[in-house]
């Protein structure tokens, strides 16, 4: 996993809690913690951090990942200047993830292996059914990141799991 994700997770932890909490999570997870945006680190380091956060806060791991994801979107988007402005809305931004956003990410981080999202548009409203495809199985993080797209535009975005599937979500947009 790219170091930029760890940097953003650190920023989220520091903003939600504080610097000391980040130190404690690293210590508890037994990690060295010197992450640089340009480096690559094992997925298990992220999971070890979330496990440590779970031990510290007693919040379930999926909820923690959703919270971190939701606060990470804006910070990740800041690292791709123009991406949010170009899309203009949360819905458009989400639809651009595979074809525009992730190719841009690959320019900055050639070794990145971003997930793929499959979209189906609702017939009854403007919503989307999103299928998350990744070998990482970080579906809870994906839900949080999708929800965070609303923060980019100050519009509410609801994301719910579709019953019977761990990797399919229903995304609804409401007029701000």
């Amino acid at each position: 996993m790219k170091g930029v994700i760890f940097n953003v997770v650190e920023e989220v932890v520091v903003s939600l809690w504080d610097d000391d909490t980040w130190d404690d999570l690293l210590d508890d997870a037994g990690l060295d913690g010197s992450y640089t945006a340009l480096g690559n680190y094992g997925d298990e380091e992220l999971l070890a951090l979330v496990d440590a956060a779970h031990r510290l806060t007693e919040i379930p791991v999926p909820s923690l990942l959703e919270t971190i994801g939701e606060h990470a979107t804006v910070r990740l988007a800041e690292r791709l200047p123009g991406a949010a402005e170009d899309a203009g809305s949360a819905r458009e931004f989400i639809l651009r993830v595979n074809d525009i956003i992730h190719p841009e990410v690959k320019k900055l981080y050639p070794q990145a292996i971003p997930p793929v999202f499959e979209f189906t548009e609702h017939t009854d409203d403007d919503g989307l059914v999103v299928e998350y495809r990744s070998r990482r199985g970080l579906d809870a993080l994906a839900i949080g990141l999708l929800r965070g797209c609303g923060h980019l535009y100050g519009e509410p975005v609801d994301v719910d799991r579709v019953a019977g599937s761990t990797s399919t979500f229903r995304v609804s947009f409401k007029d701000a």
């Binding site: 000391d20 130190d23 404690d24 060295d32 010197s34 640089t36 945006a37 340009l38 480096g39």
Partner: protein
């Protein structure tokens, strides 16, 4: 978790500092490696560009040599064909005057002679077309009076037009003082080709040689009442590449336009068509 005493606070901050230092060192090492890779990739790219350019150069030279070989071959064959053709023509000539009881042999011989002459003319023009490939003779051009040029054209073509049932009219739209910069012989040959086409294809009525001037050019237009020049005359003007030449049954139009175009371009003039039914072909020649 808050630190209870200053020592453990300092220890925590030192660890944090160590972490940041290591992250910076890692980032720098990764960036340096990336820059070095990029540099090496660029070097490789430059070498490949040079290699490709050299390959393309070779391919271009080969293609040019092939094109020259093709032109030389056509010229050579044309020359070779002309020798026996002259023999055929001469002997047919003799045959037409030889004794023949009912005169039928003379008629056949005359017909054969006409065909052989047409073939000879075709080869002459083909040869001319090949000779003119890439020719630029603009440096040799000199002022030529437009009205005198058109008058001599008209007098040369009036009889032939009349034979085809057409009236040929010269419509001088420019004053007697106007001159154009050209080579009279080559320009004449080009207009001859256009007139030949017009006389062949105009079914009835009249043909007009009209002249006009624009900013820096004289336009000599042949207006006819026949089907005129085919729309895609540029395609027709490349007969060696299998260009489309409608009405081919009437003979020689594709080569005629191709030849006229090369002749015009060799003296810095340009050729085109106008009118909804392409009833007019024109040549624009620089003003002197």
């Amino acid at each position: 978790m808050a630190d209870t005493d200053p020592d453990s606070r300092i220890a925590r901050l030192e660890r944090r500092l160590q972490r940041e230092r290591k992250a910076r060192a890692d980032a720098e090492a990764i960036a340096e490696r990336g820059l070095r890779d990029l540099y090496e990739a660029n070097q490789g790219l430059e070498e490949r560009v040079l290699e490709r350019t050299a390959e393309l150069d070779l391919a271009r030279h080969a293609a040019e040599a092939a094109s020259r070989a093709k032109s030389a071959f056509i010229a050579h064959v044309s020359h070779e064909v002309r020798t026996p053709l002259n023999g055929v023509l001469g002997n047919l000539e003799l045959l037409t005057t030889a004794v023949d009881a009912d005169g039928a042999a003379a008629v056949f011989a005359d017909n054969a002679g006409q065909s052989a002459k047409a073939l000879q003319r075709l080869f002459d023009r083909l040869l001319r077309y090949v000779e003119l490939e890439g020719a630029d003779r603009t440096a040799e051009t000199a002022p030529v009076k437009v009205d005198a040029f058109v008058e001599s054209l008209a007098s040369r073509w009036q009889t032939r037009a009349a034979k085809g049932g057409k009236l040929l009219v010269a419509d001088p739209g420019v004053g007697p003082e106007i001159s154009m910069r050209t080579l009279e012989l080559e320009l004449g040959e080009a207009v001859d080709e256009l007139l030949d086409n017009a006389v062949r294809h105009a079914d009835n009525g009249s043909l007009t040689i009209a002249t006009s001037t624009s900013l820096d050019r004289v336009r000599i237009a042949i207006v006819d009442t026949g089907p005129g020049v085919p729309e895609d005359f540029r395609a027709a003007a490349t007969p060696l590449n299998g260009g489309r030449a409608p009405e081919r049954h009437q003979g020689g139009q594709g080569l005629g336009l191709a030849l006229a175009t090369r002749l015009a371009e060799s003296v810095g003039a340009r050729l085109g068509v106008e009118g909804e039914d392409h009833t007019s072909a024109w040549i624009e020649v620089p003003l002197a």
